[in-house]
């Protein structure tokens, strides 16, 4: 079990290193002139040279890469070209927003999706199952920004016109400042993520559960004389959750790198918003930092998924 995890972690570090190489090659070695971009068109050649020197861009590529790597190993992601702030503090400041958004959304869509999936699987072709199918088709076919805007329109704007301000239309309040306001500001973004993703999860749960219902060990469980509740939740669901966990790892890993659309629709100052701003201002170190952080989350989510597999399924632990 420990060896299994250590191997996964080492492999994850290897993947991250490869990504860092790719990022370095793409962003620092690619033919463009960041010093000139920072100094501006009017600047003298001397100024540009100084900027270049300060950024270390006048050194040989291998030396630059070495410095890049050493700084990376210390968690130093360099400075923003745009306002000279450390990239790390920029990212750290945005992280709680993206984290709150993603984790809250994930909990909501899991409850919604898995719940609907279980109900549909237990009563296939029932009215409930059929309505769930319609809901799922809707969820699958609607783009995130549309769901977000619709929620904004009906639950913020229309209510606002009626003089009810139940849900704020945007912005973020740190949890440490006011948990209640934190949640209130995040409800609509959470709902957006949940409505878009619950569809996938309910289909996944339903299909997986229906398959497991046909397994011999579920028949054994029924033959023991335990309640149907127990058969479903203790015996069938345990196996049926495997594909759900996989999907959850993919989705959460991807969203932690920046829920770009949702953050921008609701004006949440998260990583996704920072990414969009940095692309607009061509702030390379920040873009690189976000790419690396996003990659880190994807890799970390994969390791967590592997770990959960091992927890769920003893047969995996032997490998």
């Amino acid at each position: 079990m420990i060896r299994f995890l250590v191997r996964r972690v080492l492999f994850g570090i290897l993947v991250l290193w490869l990504i860092s190489v790719a990022v370095f090659v793409l962003f620092f070695v690619a033919p463009h002139d960041p010093a000139r971009a920072i100094a501006g068109r009017q600047a003298t050649a001397e100024t540009v040279a100084l900027v270049e020197h300060r950024l270390g861009l006048d050194q040989p590529v291998l030396t630059q890469y070495w410095h890049f790597l050493v700084r990376l190993a210390h968690g130093d992601l360099g400075y923003s070209y745009y306002n000279s702030e450390p990239v790390r503090s920029l990212i750290v400041a945005r992280l709680p927003v993206t984290l709150s958004l993603t984790l809250g959304g994930a909990i909501l869509w899991l409850l919604l999706g898995v719940g609907i999936g279980i109900a549909s699987a237990r009563h296939p072709r029932s009215l409930l199952d059929r309505s769930a199918t319609v809901f799922v088709l809707g969820g699958l076919s609607m783009p995130t920004f549309l769901v977000g805007l619709l929620l904004l329109y009906f639950l913020f704007f229309r209510l606002h016109l009626l003089g009810v301000d139940a849900f704020p239309g945007g912005g973020y309040v740190p949890f440490t400042q006011s948990p209640a306001q934190w949640a209130q500001h995040l409800i609509l973004p959470w709902l957006t993520l949940a409505l878009v993703s619950a569809a996938t999860y309910s289909r996944l749960t339903r299909g997986s559960l229906l398959e497991v219902f046909g397994e011999d060990y579920v028949r054994t469980a029924r033959a023991k004389g335990i309640t149907e509740q127990r058969v479903v939740y203790r015996h069938a669901l345990r196996s049926a959750l495997t594909p759900v966990v996989t999907q959850l790892g993919i989705d959460v890993g991807a969203l932690l790198g920046g829920a770009i659309i949702t953050e921008n629709v609701f004006g949440l100052p998260g990583l996704g918003q920072l990414a969009v701003q940095s692309v607009v201002t061509q702030d390379l170190p920040v873009i690189v930092g976000i790419v690396l952080v996003a990659a880190f989350f994807v890799v970390a989510a994969n390791i967590v998924v592997d770990f959960l597999y091992a927890v769920l399924d003893p047969r995996v632990r032997r490998r």
């Binding site: 397994e215 011999d216 060990y217 028949r219 054994t220 469980a221 029924r222 033959a223 023991k224 004389g225 335990i226 309640t227 149907e228 127990r230 015996h235 345990r238 196996s239 769920l312 399924d313 003893p314 047969r315």
Partner: protein, 329 residues
């Protein structure tokens, strides 16, 4: 008249499917008493499993007819909670493939204690002690250590022993073993059959062994019932089935039992069992029967007393062997 522990009368089981109703069991009656073993034999698809599992309400979606008196109560008329109290506690099942029939993600001890705690107020600790005792009883070495292993850590034969331990956990009156040895190696098969037989002698429960192999019931069954296309083709005590079989289908099955001496090749019955959706006219076996008479193609024979032994009945129009029955009587 002797009243058996289990008395099934006119059981019918039909599955509605898009292709039409599947008549898996078409009116069969049988019984088994404490301390006795009934062997149900037939090819794949003859309705053996469905007949047995329907008794416990484990064939969802089926429409069921007839009566199944168990200790005087009709299983088929019970509500779900009533039936749940019977399942696992008074009637237990041992399934064919112990690898797929045990939950791969739970320890065997957990799976056994779950059954115990579902039906008794036993404490966790008491249930665990009982599970250890059961594992020892079915011949698992060092049960105290093995109880926390997962199914994949056992060999096939040992897994089937775990299944048997689980079935016996609550001291059931009836155990249904549905092809308990089909998934196992030949040598292990014999061990498992011995174990079942021995435990039945010790505990005195009724046992139904379902198999497609007459060899499996040769040593263990008191009564044998041969099924074909959802009906009973022939039923009698074991000796009669093996030495005075009447139905050509039984004779065919006997031809495919490997002989002890090892000589003589298997002679499986030619042709395929009929589809339960489109059964042949008359006797369902007639397309494959070497002794087909004109009557067989139009009229389905009922179970007729053929007198090879007490209770010997066969669903075949062929005359009784007159010479032999004279000797008998």
């Amino acid at each position: 008249m002797v009243v058996n522990l289990l008395e099934v009368n006119g059981l019918t089981v039909t599955f509605p499917t898009p292709d039409g109703p599947v008549r898996a069991v078409r009116g069969i009656s049988f019984g088994v008493d404490r301390g006795r073993t009934l062997g149900i034999v037939g090819e794949s698809g003859s309705g053996k499993s469905v007949a047995a599992l329907t008794l416990l309400g484990l064939t969802p979606g089926a429409s069921v007819g007839g009566q199944a008196l168990f200790g005087g109560d009709d299983l088929l008329a019970m509500s779900e909670p009533e039936l749940r109290a019977v399942r696992g506690a008074r009637i237990a099942v041992v399934f064919q493939d112990p690898l797929s029939s045990l939950h791969p993600m739970y320890r065997v001890g957990w799976q056994i204690t779950e059954a115990i705690r579902a039906h008794t107020p036993a404490s966790r600790r008491a249930a665990r002690e009982r599970a250890i005792e059961l594992l020892g009883m079915v011949g698992i070495a060092q049960p105290r250590r093995r109880i926390d292993d997962y199914p994949h850590q056992f060999s096939g034969g040992m897994r089937q022993r775990v299944m048997i331990a689980m079935a016996l956990a609550l001291g059931p009156d009836l155990v249904i073993a549905d092809e308990p040895t089909t998934a196992l190696d030949t040598t292990v098969q014999a061990q498992i059959l011995d174990l079942l037989h021995r435990l039945q002698q010790e505990l005195g429960m009724a046992l139904i062994i379902i198999t497609h192999d007459l060899g499996v019931v040769a040593q263990t069954a008191d009564e044998v019932q041969v099924m074909y296309a959802g009906r009973i083709a022939e039923t009698a005590d074991r000796r009669t089935i093996f030495y005075r079989a009447h139905h050509p289908y039984t004779l065919g099955l006997l031809g495919s039992v490997p002989s002890a001496a090892g000589r003589g090749r298997l002679t499986p019955i030619a042709g395929q069992p009929p589809s339960p959706i489109r059964l042949p006219s008359g006797c369902p076996f007639h397309p494959r029967c070497a002794y087909r008479m004109d009557r067989c193609t139009v009229e389905e024979p009922p179970l007729l007393t053929v007198g090879g032994g007490p209770g010997h009945r066969s669903a075949c129009w062929l005359p009784v062997d007159a010479r032999r029955s004279e000797v008998m009587v």
